[in-house]
Symmetry: C2
Subunit: 379 residues, 2 copies
């Protein structure tokens, strides 16, 4: 109201009106340096008169060489990124880890398109969420600008601090648990394998080309125990995609069993060893690479009238509290997502302070719920 649309007041205007120099006015606002109380009040009064809203962040960030903004880079649309509770928890942890040093988190997406945003965003540091080869370009570009980078589950990369889990080991623990319970025929429902997020059976060729480190590592952990387990990839980390993958996995088993029966009259073939065993029998356990996918598998089990864990054991991963599914106690590996975020936030703080930071790895906690049990021998 007081300043309709004429040129906005600058710190110089304020200083002149208060009868002091620019530098003194600046000190009055920033609080750095000694300024007498009387002067400060005069400056503030002048600012108020002129409708001055404080120093321009753009100018300040140019002079200071930092903006206080940390970029969060996703490799998928925000819509999908935020559907995954782990991402949300991690983000919250990052915000906490950065504390009050930060002026906010800048959401950026690098989906493979041109992505002008990431080039021209005034960020002091970047956190890469997830890991696809798409990020190589981002790492290059930011590295050239001297922007420190922290990746979450991004795997080892040159000049990048990584925060993650030992996914393979954690996954192996789950697999071994099932093996100990007597399971021999297991299926795996995996997360997306690459940028395309193709849904469907993971053939050996496809498995070799998995670019998503988390997916690859968790699958590798399973392979150490069940080298021949059939794996189906879900597209996104969603319950519904888990349902879809679960249905397909069982349908494939149905077909394989049906095909095996007439061909080999000797039913003991189903008890033999080798890849055919896995393919030609219904799985007694499903290892899902996330809790959301596991919940989808549980729904498929219900559809097919399979009792869990009597007829089918199911494991998840993440240990997220799934809103609205309080009743289910899933056997899973609980990962400290918020802590990972916090660690990433702290790492950013350290890097910005010029201190060196090492990559950090977190432990998962093995939680045995009531979705796993002894393999049924009656099948």
């Amino acid at each position: 109201m007081s300043a309709p649309e004429q040129a906005r007041a600058t710190l110089l205007d304020v200083a002149e009106r208060a009868g002091v120099s620019r530098s003194t006015a600046s000190l009055a606002f920033s609080g750095a340096g000694p300024v007498s109380e009387a002067t400060r009040e005069r400056v503030m009064a002048a600012a108020s008169d002129l409708g001055y809203g404080g120093p321009d962040p753009r100018a300040r960030s140019l002079r200071q060489g930092r903006s206080g903004v940390v970029g969060i880079v996703f490799d998928e649309s925000l819509l999908n990124a935020f559907r995954d509770p782990v991402n949300v928890q991690t983000l919250d942890g990052i915000a906490e880890g950065l504390g009050l040093d930060s002026n906010g988190l800048l959401l950026l997406t690098e989906t493979g398109a041109v992505g002008t945003g990431i080039q021209s965003a005034a960020i002091d540091a970047a956190v890469l969420m997830g890991c696809t080869p798409v990020f190589d370009r981002v790492v290059d570009s930011l590295g050239r600008r001297g922007v420190p980078i922290v990746s979450i589950e991004g795997g080892a990369r040159d000049g990048v601090v990584d925060v993650g889990l030992d996914n393979a080991a954690a996954s192996e623990t789950l697999a071994r648990h099932l093996h100990d319970l007597g399971h021999r025929s297991v299926g795996v429902v995996t997360l997306g394998t690459d940028v395309s997020r193709t849904i469907g059976l993971i053939t050996p060729e496809r498995e070799a080309g998995i670019t998503a480190a988390v997916t690859a590592d968790r699958l590798e952990g399973v392979r150490r125990v069940f080298p021949d387990a059939v794996a189906y990839s879900a597209g996104f980390n969603l319950v519904d995609d888990g349902v879809r993958a679960g249905r397909e996995l069982f349908a494939a088993a149905d077909a394989a069993v049906a095909a095996a029966l007439p061909d080999s009259p000797a039913s003991d073939a189903a008890g033999g060893e080798g890849a055919t065993t896995v393919l030609a029998a219904h799985p007694t356990a499903i290892i899902a690479q996330s809790d959301l996918l596991a919940v989808g598998v549980l729904q498929v089990a219900a559809e097919r009238g399979l009792r869990v864990p009597d007829d089918l054991s199911v494991t998840g991963f993440d240990g997220v509290r799934i809103d609205g599914l309080a009743g289910v106690d899933l056997t899973t590996m609980r990962q400290p997502a918020a802590e990972k975020g916090r660690a990433a936030g702290l790492a950013v703080t350290e890097l910005l302070a010029g201190r060196p930071v090492a990559s950090a790895h977190f432990e998962c906690e093995f939680h045995i719920g009531d979705t796993t049990g002894a393999a049924s021998t009656a099948r």
Copy 2:
């Protein structure tokens, strides 16, 4: 590698190495203005030699007077904000509405704390998600700086473009639907009422002091049809909070019914009119102010052995696709959350272009699912 840790190259360095002036080098990078192909290549080669990663966004934004960043302001922690699918959809819509003009969305939270971030963030415009009085300060502060503001469901505010729904009318539609089905005793499960998000019964005094516009408007819509409906407030928009509020609501009804029986031996008192009717009888319908809360209520119904919609009708609001609950077809008002976001994004674009923008209101679509039916007379 090529530039270890010596002073980072600037555009001037690049220009000198390429044998051109600063201005020409700038034009070569920005693409504005005519530059010969040979010169451009020479500049790019020099940049590459020096490990120059493009113009500094800070300097650019100072000179141009804009950063390309749009602030998204929440009144709660990011963790809670992103648990609400409506927020996520809206955010995605905003990103889409802004298109390629934007360099990213800056997440800011104003929870009532000092919030230095919002003051010193270089944003061109701001979108306020939700609406609490806390935002008054934000509006002031940003307005003084000349930053355009768009609010989502923020209600009318001076100098702020608002994008929202006619929540009262939409809510009234649901209530009338239930009334038409013969329901007379209904309960309401509401969203948070204010910053404190206190869970529990909404007394008349408390109802008068609701500061969350969405909650107040939706409740008002119900009141037009059921003036005496009992309302319980859930804290956050979560299934689990819906479960909790639903349980309390039914427990309160249990108590009221038990208290009414011995006192008034004439059981026809339960069929009379007035506030006591509502309080002294179990509700035959529950109006939840969101789908997530409605799902919680459905779970409570299952707990108590109530069949839906035979024994109890339930309505929601939002029309979100709830991951993992594909089977339920909720009666609800579907709101175009993504469209709202898109409209907000477009509004920001227009405002930044200096064009005037009017507040916009969107229509909800009434969806009758299978969770509402005729009121049971047998109770």
